[in-house]
Symmetry: C2
Subunit: 407 residues, 2 copies
């Protein structure tokens, strides 16, 4: 059996989607917005294996349909073209036709087969893409090896900062890199679409196995964050593995499989936390760890219920060590819970034990809850299941941002 | 087959839990709080059939356990004793023992069998009942035929108003009355328990059938309101039917069964809407009607998802006719939805039709959204399922109330 430890995976400070070998990117002002960058392109030097996870919304936007059609053909991608400002969602037949045109323009300009091109859009929904501007973008954008930051900026909507991460590992003794970027769930403008993430790696791996790894990682990261419980029409995570590092192809049988999935998990987790922390109006990242649950699924359900509770979020904003809010949220989670066995810690301080509150230092709690990152630990004493979820506090600014846009 | 119409059921203006024959009540200042009434008693002249619905929270409070134990014995009740200020939740063995003592004190003072007494508490959780004050209340409270308003006041916590409703119908040609009161889901104080409702009727009906009727009604009323998606440790709906009106016992075979269930449904619905409208910091009642769903269950799920969406709630607060928020909420409801068939109306104005937005009058929408009650209609064109849910807007005051209590 293979032993893997955290020490085999290391973070690459300042790393991006262009840290892995064989990728280029660009981000430009495509004139969809007044001044900010709004049009991006990420390309691989050669056709890459691909894995994707899409929104579960019934209202899936045209760009997602086009991307799914591309990937379905050969399970390969060489380019991802993205625009912000307009999400091309709830746009009917014309929206779908526009998304296909956007794909075609990149395909013909760079000579990639159409099915090697993915399309992503984010921004206002219910509005058609301005195709003259999209066409301008497709004609003028020039990917380079130093375009990562421009690309990261071009995909943002109401995010307050670029989001990037990168990890390095060794496969068959060779250095493999995984980089990622994301745009968050800020939804300041009305009808704004939500979460996009693009991950690159120079690892050699078939799409089938990349997909298996990504699905597991997304379940424990992007699917465990919540800003306000909403799912957008355009959410998508796309991963390209271009095989620029020549090692034995990764699969669950490969001795370094666990190291690879661990690194991919860290990339997904980092990006998820950055998104949660940059939630609308948020001042804090909240992490909820559940252990001792009957199953991993139970632990994840409870963690997400607690971090998603408006009352928990508001209490954390108010620096209130309000175990009652946490009990309330655990109480109606669809999972096995025996109240008399349940312990709750806020920033390491036990506040609730075996079904009743403990005496604890309010002074310390206020100090702890003033931090930018607040951790809540819950021990259920039911079994071995563990799970984590991330979110943010609920503030006056969340209401302001979302109430006052159009009136 | 029996034909029933709305005209057979009529509202009793100013009616209360004491409008049905054979009930008495009182509400006093039992010294749990500084000045407000905090201790109530509702009694029936004779043992009444009973139906109950309890919180689904894993953390079920001691008073609920005692009430369940009472009802389990003979399915009869003659008294409901309630205190506010302290919920007696998360209080362990001592809390359970105190709830039993509270039952015993009422039982011995009024000469009811212990199993004819139900106990309810609402208020701060994690704190033991002050038994000296509970004892004082049990010894001094005197139910009368004019104590309805006092009782209604005594059960309130952070509600801004008393809640009462009453309907009248005829069974076998005789007038039957159903009255109800409730306390709402205001949760200003930390760890405050939530929703209580008490319903009385002079109808003659076995507990078994009363329970069947109540369960159906609660599913379409109390279970379809949401202020912030939270379930409390103490939620309970209790119904007593004392048979003071002598008619053939009601059952699904009785020709007036449908009229009775309709009246009970109206009582539950009225109280539910009053609770939703009095949500913390709320300025508006939001009603979401879904029709054309694949099933009643699908319609109810979607209605509740929309009315519970923080983004929909905030948009309504901001008078923003933001169909995108509604699409977002419908999009991730666990129900059958075909976006291309979906229509959305805000206060009767079509804003989204067959998967794409419509042009509509923004001016009219702002006027409509300035009302105290806002209705959103959704037509899915899938089947015959209909469902309704109620909630309130999300305001600065919600954040203020819930963030600033203890710091």
């Amino acid at each position: 059996m293979v032993e893997t430890t955290k020490t085999q995976v290391e973070i690459v400070e300042g790393g991006t989607v262009l840290s892995p070998i064989g990728f280029q990117a660009a981000g430009i002002h495509g004139r969809l917005r007044k001044t900010r960058k709004d049009f991006g392109l990420l390309v691989s030097d050669k056709p890459a294996s691909v894995a994707a996870v899409y929104t579960q919304s019934h209202f899936q936007a045209p760009p997602l349909k086009v991307t799914q059609a591309s990937i379905a053909k050969q399970q390969k991608l060489q380019a991802i073209v993205v625009n912000s400002a307009v999400a091309n969602a709830c746009t009917g037949e014309q929206g779908l036709s526009n998304a296909y045109k956007m794909r075609e323009m990149i395909s013909s300009r760079f000579g990639f087969p159409e099915e090697y091109v993915a399309v992503a859009s984010t921004g206002v929904i219910g509005v058609q893409l301005p195709m003259d501007k999209i066409s301008y973008g497709c004609k003028t954008i020039e990917p380079t090896s130093f375009g990562a930051s421009d690309f990261q900026q071009a995909i943002l909507t109401t995010d307050t900062c670029e989001k990037a991460t990168c990890y390095r590992l060794t496969v068959d003794g060779k250095v493999v890199t995984i980089g990622g970027t994301a745009k968050g769930s800020g939804m300041i403008h009305p009808n704004m679409a939500t979460m996009l993430s693009f991950i690159t790696t120079d690892a050699t791996i078939e799409s089938e196995y990349l997909q298996a790894a990504l699905s597991v990682c997304v379940d424990k990261s992007f699917n465990q964050i919540t800003v306000d419980g909403e799912t957008s029409t355009n959410d998508m995570v796309l991963t390209m593995a271009n095989g620029s590092v020549d090692h034995n192809p990764l699969s669950p049988e490969h001795p370094d499989w666990n190291v690879f999935t661990e690194a991919l998990q860290l990339v997904c987790e980092d990006l998820s936390k950055k998104i949660a922390k940059d939630g609308e109006g948020a001042t804090k990242l909240i992490e909820v760890n559940v252990r001792g649950a009957n199953s991993v699924s139970d632990a994840q359900i409870i963690a997400k219920k607690v971090v998603g509770s408006s009352l928990v979020k508001t209490a954390v904003y108010g620096k209130d060590a309000n175990w009652g809010r946490i009990v309330g949220a655990i109480g109606h989670a669809d999972a096995t819970v025996h109240p008399d066995d349940c312990d709750i810690y806020i920033e390491g301080q036990l506040v609730f034990s075996k079904g009743t509150p403990c005496s604890f230092s309010e002074e310390q709690a206020i100090k702890d809850l003033s931090k930018e990152e607040v951790t809540i630990d819950i021990h259920l004493h039911e079994g071995d299941g563990i799970g984590t979820a991330w979110g943010c506090d609920l503030t006056y600014d969340y209401v302001k941002i979302n109430a006052s846009y159009r009136t």
